[in-house]
Symmetry: D2
């Protein structure tokens, strides 16, 4: 008798193939679920592989558009960046994948969802907090003693694969966790970035785009020289990836702090996301009131930590997203961007919604601004400092 | 009879030359004070010019070492950055200059300090809050109606100069406020950065340095290929400027929010500061506990806003500097950096003080880390989310 | 010829009566505007007085309902409290009064609004930032040299009053700034609170109310013993004031930090506001998710500082109010409160929207909560601490 | 053969008595450790009981002085308060108790420490994070299936006690977790506070103390009428407890958010802590610069959350304590306090370190403060608001 049905987040790779077979061995019916979030994968081959390994059903789901619109766009609005460097490419993909997985589990009446994330990483948390928030029960084989005691290293997986007719990759993939999606490519092992890569600055001529942001998200990108334009979210983001990728934009080698309490190394390449980060930041400061932005900056830090830690589907993250979206109401205009050899330059910006007032700033036009007012402003700001100083001196003397 | 003695922050340029003569005209004795904070200037010529214009005394003060050690270094420790982009090159120079000016005023028994900053900018505030915090009275001609009504534009200054024998520059300098010092070069007019500049990526081979940070500030920089080493703060910073400058590192064109309430455009080039920003950030995250850094990140934002707004000498900025310095106790190690065509890449890092533990992170070594613990961690983190969800559903139904 | 029309915020007292006459003397037409925000005043008498002093028109406006609904209620939602103690009774009244003043100025085509707030206080700022945000020009006689040089003390005002037929109060009011409105009574002089007051605990039997909060604001208050109920905002707040006042609730004697940079003493009595502060806080923590509240707590601190400093009408305060209102969506339920001799006790609470789950908390019911999960939770939280400790020991030894 | 030695945090009550016997049954040697942190307990009787139940050794440790000086005092400096209401009486006791337990374990060469905290509460976390930070291994029977499956309710404990000769209390104590220490008495069940209690306002005459704070902690308390003075930390705190207790000060009935993700009800009585909270807050605002305090307020919130969640011994809490202590350098002076029927009134304060300047605030003394400066201050603060308004109108029209 079946122990129940499991919807397994299946990647087509060795690990989740072994998990698929192992789950069946344990007595579960397995539905394989493969999310297309822009990674480079032969989805048809993966589907066939899952079927041949005994999956009761296989779902291959194209989530690219919703990934861009519902997960990347809010991150752009938030200027989301973890620990001042990491653009959260993996973090935002997990809730997107898990959400669909839960929907499939409900639709198919499955009792469990399962994933192949390991027990020391962030992804298990991101997967599972999404699932817990949205409901069903979870199987995480890498945390089940029967599983992890059996598969202590890559070799055990290979042996098991051979024994169970699981195709083993000819060129074995890197034995470390990698993630690839529309937003970024990541690898957690140092070797991934070789020195030759970071030096290989592309000599392609400067790229000039004109992106139109409305309410803080891009609505159009135009290549100034070539005249190409993109207008749907998925096209825009794919195009920015292509351009940015050509120039090696957004490659970083960092150490980051996992939610689980460890420091770990991360190598990321986030071309389109890096371009948008800079373009959005520029338009935001150009159009948003200074003090609104100070508060919004804090909310963006909250958002980034929440998303990194797996709390996309939480009351606080919903609240923060709502507030950030509200702050974007006037973030609208055109940003001119140049991308060259790893670097993103902002060349200019214009907006009908900016309080930027050339006349007001000009030293030649006084307008209704009286220089004497600045004296009062400074003197009142100094009242506190003078009292403090008076007291310090007093204390020194006494 | 003299109205008293004024110590004037003198730049050698047209504006402060006119101010010098005008102050004398108004009946003040003027001491000219010229601070060397690394700008490109003929200090001897400036001294002679001030003397010829009637300065009672001239002080040319080399503040470069103290600028690096007492102002740039604390900013590096803070990862100081205003509105996520501006590295505060001008902001930190003002209190350094004004402090010495106050010391001279005290030593010379002067009644006033004066400066040539205009009435719409940030610098007047930074100058004056420093002075108010440290004591004497201030004259700001650009906010004195008699002055600004007389000098309504550049032409008035030129006429006045000619009439009073003030040498007028053959090639008139740009008619906008510029600032140059060790930390950066700034210009607030769009023309300063031409497209050709930002495209002119230097084809110089990749630069590899090995900088040793101790308690959050650099103590040594070594060019890996050339073998050159620098060890004093001033040498280190000058050298990083040279390298960074060659590659166009740290050039930005931004709009920023002035304390005075306006948005204004700023064009900055901060080569050495940009390299150090990235190197320090990397070492900080590598060595500092995650939660300490979250708190320190907030303090760094405080610091940046305070310094931008002119509050370097304030009880709160002193307090924040103290706390930030405390946080740096373990920020020590070597960072390997590559600089190429505008971009700064971190290639690696090592430190005796880092809690980074390769064994702990490794998926092959379990250590005293039990994967099952992660299940508990996730489940407890989900308790709140499940209750929230339970309640939402309940509410939906009722 | 008239210099234009001024709408003067008129209180009926000596100061603004003198200002009214003085403004006329200076050549302005004066419209007197008297806002009823719940202070104890004979409005008819004040109207007649203004007319007799030469006001072109007199507006007496009852703002009590809008004061409660649009200013007090948002402050209750925010748990607004400045420097952990002051409930902002005056701060929130100023924008309410100034808003109507601006509307009258527009309607009457007046060129100016004027107020009698002095040059060292917070109220001038609160008045004027509201006016500047909403438009017209301002006259602040206490900052006009002609005025403040003429009226150097109370005696000058008295002499001027006698000379110009301005009725002088028989018992001269306290020579310090006081403010009274629905929210509170304040006086900035120490004498206002005598020891006998604070000791005079009313022996009235405990008061028990049952207030129903919806979306964070009260919709009904019921006296449990007497059975009395109040349901309109103004009635509710007035009733809570009455009960709280009887028991000396909300009397504080504090030193606070003015925006203008000084510390000053404040004596406040905020009976209804204090009761609501506690009742709302209780319901908020009962119904709101922990992490939402942590973020909302920060926004509440922002709100309090903004309002104290006069920025009610600012983009950032609008933004913060929007976010706080959003956070209140589930703050709904009944709080039982007891008020006795200065103290407010919360006796209990109930809500259909609370995630409080007695079964979950109970030690006798395990539910789907497994005690072992807590072990994992604690161990993972300790990973970072253990690494830190390991490193500290290492460092100690080396 | 022994499984090793366990140092058990022993309370003398039923639960830990059963645990003691059960641990022995499981094959451990048990050292009983009883911390005196001011609870009402017959320590001699408890010692004998532990010995009679088979403890290898018994340690009764008087931690009262270090509890006050090293745990309560830093909390007073921080104005520590969790979720705006809870003064952390239990939270700060746990690391104090656990620290000594670890020291005993080290000294005695024990392999384990054990505690009787349950699996749904905060205390297990506070105990264990302290232990993990400081080293050894932990046994938490209430999370060991063999234990919690055997002892499903109070009845199982009673049966076990009778069977093993463990004295069972004649009047069974309340079947819920209580905690009593110098700082507070807590009980997590509603019945603990009866209505009669909160009404029973003591008619004792007003209490007037004069407490002298130095660097943010009390150094002397004097009863003004009776003339009694206390000067050691333990005496001061005990005396404030006595006075506050007589007046029912600091009794609250709240719902709070546990770290474990649940909301739970808490009934607390914190007399001395409540008095000190108010007295310290008053002196802090009186002596501390406004902006330093804004930053310190945020650090105090950090501190409170960290301590509540069990992170007293963590790098971030150490960092925060260091920063807070730094902020207290000038918090020194005398506060006059009146305590009556549940309420704490601040009657006045004086300090040699306060920047409070009566002359500066006075409206009759102008000093070097010019009212016109306020105009400039307000106008510059309004620049941003006017631009925002201009833009809003512009947008409305277009």
């Amino acid at each position: 008798m079946s122990k129940g049905t499991v919807v397994l987040a299946y990647s087509g790779g060795l690990d989740t193939s072994c998990i698929l077979v192992w789950l069946k061995e344990q007595g579960y019916d397995v539905i394989a679920y493969l999310a297309n979030i822009g990674q480079d994968e032969d989805f048809d081959a993966a589907r066939k592989k899952a079927e041949s390994l005994g999956a009761k059903k296989v779902f291959v789901e194209d989530l690219r558009a919703e990934f861009v619109e519902e997960f990347i766009w809010p991150s752009v609005q938030a200027n989301a960046i973890y620990e001042d460097r990491y653009l959260l490419g993996t973090s935002i993909a997990r809730p997107c994948i898990a959400r669909r997985q839960v929907l499939i589990a409900r639709q198919e009446g499955a009792q469990y969802v399962a994933h192949g994330a390991t027990g020391k990483g962030n992804d298990q948390i991101r997967f599972e907090l999404t699932c817990y928030a949205l409901y069903p029960s979870i199987l995480a084989p890498w945390r089940i003693p029967e599983f992890y005691n059996r598969f202590k290293g890559r070799k055990d997986l290979m042996d098991y694969a051979q024994k169970h007719g699981i195709p083993v990759p000819a060129t074995p993939k890197a034995p470390w966790s990698m993630d690839a999606n529309l937003m970024h490519i990541s690898g957690s092992q140092p070797r991934v970035v070789r020195k030759s890569d970071v030096r290989a600055a592309d000599s392609f001529g400067a790229f000039l785009s004109r992106s139109v942001l409305a309410a803080g998200v891009p609505v159009k990108v135009t290549h100034l020289k070539e005249g190409t334009s993109k207008t749907t979210p998925l096209q825009i983001f794919t195009y920015l990836n292509e351009i940015g990728g050509r120039h090696g934009v957004g490659r970083i080698d960092i150490v980051e702090n996992r939610f689980i309490g460890m420091k770990c190394r991360g190598i990321y390449e986030t071309p389109g996301g890096t371009i948008l980060y800079h373009a959005h930041l520029d338009m935001e400061i150009f159009t948003m009131d200074r003090e609104v932005r100070r508060i919004k900056q804090g909310l963006g830090i909250n958002f980034s930590e929440l998303v990194y830690n797996g709390f996309w589907y939480s009351p606080e993250c919903e609240f923060v997203r709502h507030c950030i979206a509200k702050s974007q109401e006037n973030v609208e205009g055109k940003v001119q961007v140049s991308v060259l050899k790893g670097h993103v330059y902002i060349l200019g910006r214009e907006s009908p919604k900016s309080p930027y007032n050339e006349e007001l700033v000009s030293m030649d036009v006084q307008g209704d601004y009286n220089p004497c007012d600045a004296s009062g402003f400074i003197k009142i700001n100094a009242v506190r400092l003078k009292e403090y100083n008076r007291l310090q001196n007093y204390s020194f003397r006494s």
